[in-house]
């Protein structure tokens, strides 16, 4: 289990070792859907590179809404994978807020990273896509959880 305890930007996730033999699976969890979004985002970022070794400099602001938080998380994670290739970057962090307004969930995020640099960054896997295999966002025992399998 990996977690960050700070109040404002808390996240928790763990990589699941025996689900996706050739790929990467993780479970994010939290007291709120927002915390699950943070955990899943952090897990994805760490799948591609050690964020500590990635400087800033490249940034995109993203604001999306959807009635279904599960679809919103899937699209958000897919967007991160898209920018990895489209801009040739890896990521340091992605501070985000998720609010529930009426029927709609609103995601406001900043994706922060830097162009890939094999000399200075600790690079991990080149994620191909976020899959729908076993994918779910659910509430269990008062905690929110997301299960995500990445194709590597």
């Amino acid at each position: 289990m990996r977690c960050r305890q700070s109040d404002a930007m808390a996240w928790t996730f763990r990589f699941l070792e025996e689900i996706a033999m050739a790929d990467v699976a993780f479970e994010a969890e939290g007291a709120s859907v927002e915390e699950v979004f943070r955990g899943a985002t952090q897990a994805l970022i760490e799948s591609m590179a050690n964020p500590v070794t990635v400087a800033g400099g490249w940034e995109r602001a993203i604001e999306w809404r959807d009635e279904d938080p599960s679809a919103l998380l899937f699209d958000w994670l897919s967007e991160i994978v898209y920018w990895k290739d489209a801009a040739g970057v890896v990521f340091r962090e992605a501070p985000l807020t998720l609010t529930h307004e009426g029927e709609v969930w609103l995601l406001r995020a900043r994706l922060i990273g830097a162009p890939v640099d094999q000399q200075t960054q600790e690079l991990h896997a080149d994620v191909k896509g976020v899959t729908k295999h076993l994918y779910r966002v659910s509430q269990e025992g008062g905690r929110w959880k997301a299960l995500v399998v990445l194709d590597i």
Partner: protein, 483 residues
């Protein structure tokens, strides 16, 4: 026999095992697994679950198949083969994979180990520089959107027209390196932006470029080997494993979403979201097929540009032209693709996901050059244990929709491999064993350790004994580049 499933698995032969339709509600055909008893016993539970899910898809014919390198995938198992009636069956991105036309390419040379050994360090350094690998890597080819559209429709032919290869290369590729029916106007802007700068790059994961040796002892069929340009005597060959990169990955993502939304309209339900599909003849099915062909052609082009770079590096290091070094293509074959092929049942959409086409000498689809040998099949093992060159058989066409295995197949998760071995330590150990490895990511290197894979010799033995491919030569690694 202890298996990782509660399902009934019946022995058909020592290499063929069948799960009857009674084992899962909705199965339209039995599932068949090609494996030795030992490999079958080691297969993870996901294989049995997933191959029987595939057997439930509309329009499936004969069997849902899994090859001996099969393991847990998403939707289809890796190693999965399924054929659907083109008239009333489906097409599914989950049966192709995210990396559309991920495939293998083998280049022969006239060089021997004695020629290469003194220059191996420089050779691998130069290859590592010339063929970008790893996360977010971009290639040297700069394309306009219009020109990238021509790559999508012309594949490796585009490369040869631009000087990245030889005309005679094209005959030694599945479909001549260019699949018809690719319409570049239907792919999304997202897909184009993800892939436009990646031509000539390897990627990461299990993708690699490998310098290998073929010894006399490693040749099982000297006549076929010679016909394919493999002569032994410590001959150097180069193997490339990669696919359509971000472009293909995005095409798959785009159409999984489309299919999820339209399945209900066609009355299709699936056992797993990742099996989202549409009738092949539906507008959505035809659009995906066309977009998939764009990605497949881009993958052929990707491997062709990499081949150009390999030839340039060899020419520089050895001070002779690539032609004078005998750097001819042996073959290029896809192992993540869906294709329309004709069988006794009629026109079928054959999905191969982590499985290779393996047409025998009698196949009219093969070019003249392979009419006596059968189609070459290139199977990549782990970077520590070696790979195989095989040929397809007429029996494969009869029994497995002309399909066979594609590699060793994993037997250990990436996380477990990383816990077991460290990348830097593995690199050092391999160097001591005569295999020079250049890697972008040390954690990625650890994930690809030989211990994480099945014994490729036993996997190859399964398909050889089953008669769906025949062994030609074993290829032993001496240098490897990984993302």
């Amino acid at each position: 026999m202890k298996l990782n499933t509660q399902m009934t698995v019946n022995r058909i032969t020592d290499e063929i095992w069948e799960i009857p339709t009674s084992e899962k509600p909705g199965m339209l055909v039995p599932a068949r697994i090609y494996a030795t008893r030992g490999i079958l016993q080691a297969m993870d539970s996901g294989v049995f679950e997933q191959v029987t899910n595939v057997a439930c898809l509309p329009g499936i014919r004969r069997y849902a198949l899994c090859m001996p390198d099969g393991h847990w995938g998403y939707g289809f198992p890796i190693g999965g083969v399924a054929a659907f009636d083109a008239a009333d069956g489906i097409i599914s991105p989950g049966g192709v994979g995210y990396d559309i036309n991920c495939g293998m390419r083998l280049i022969r040379t006239d060089l021997t180990l004695a020629d290469v050994q003194p220059h191996l360090e420089r050779l691998m350094t130069e290859l590592f520089r010339a063929v970008p690998a790893g996360v977010g890597a971009s290639g040297f080819v700069r394309l306009s959107g219009e020109e990238f559209g021509r790559v999508m429709t012309h594949g490796a032919k585009w490369c040869v027209e631009r000087g990245y290869g030889w005309h005679r290369d094209l005959v030694r590729m599945e479909e001549g390196g260019c699949i018809e029916g690719a319409d570049s106007s239907i792919v999304t802007d997202h897909a184009i932006k993800r892939g436009i700068n990646q031509l000539g790059t390897l990627g990461s994961g299990n993708h690699y470029l490998e310098v290998q040796v073929v010894s006399n002892e490693g040749i099982f069929d000297p006549v076929t080997a010679a016909a394919l340009g493999i002569t032994g005597h410590e001959q150097i060959v180069v193997m490339v494993h990669c696919g359509s990169r971000g472009f293909g990955h995005q095409v798959a993502s785009d159409y999984l979403k489309v299919f999820e939304q339209c399945m209900g309209r066609y009355g299709i339900t699936v056992k797993d979201q990742q099996l989202a599909c549409a009738p092949f003849r539906s507008p959505e099915g035809q659009e995906y097929f066309s977009a998939m062909n764009c990605a497949a052609n881009t993958a052929f082009a990707n491997r062709q540009v990499i081949t150009h770079q390999i030839r340039e590096v060899f020419a520089t290091v050895f001070g002779r032209s690539a032609e004078s070094l005998g750097m001819e293509l042996v073959y290029d074959v896809a192992h993540n693709i869906a294709k329309v092929e004709r069988y006794p049942e009629g026109e079928l959409v054959v999905h191969r996901k982590g499985a290779t086409r393996a047409f025998g000498p009698g196949s009219p689809e093969l070019p003249e050059v392979f009419r006596t040998t059968g189609q070459p099949v290139i199977c990549g093992g782990s970077m520590e244990t070696g790979s195989y060159l095989l040929v397809g058989t007429d029996q494969a066409v009869r029994d497995t929709f002309g399909s066979t295995m594609h590699g060793a197949g994993r037997t250990m998760s990436r996380a477990q491999a990383k816990r077991t071995v460290r990348g830097a330590q593995l690199q050092q150990q391999m160097k001591q064993r005569g295999i020079l490895v250049k890697a972008v990511s040390m954690s990625g290197l650890a994930e690809e350790a030989g211990l994480a894979y099945k014994d490729i010799s036993e996997v190859v033995q399964s398909v050889d004994r089953a008669g769906i491919t025949k062994k030609v030569a074993e290829l032993r690694p001496i240098g490897n580049i990984k993302g």
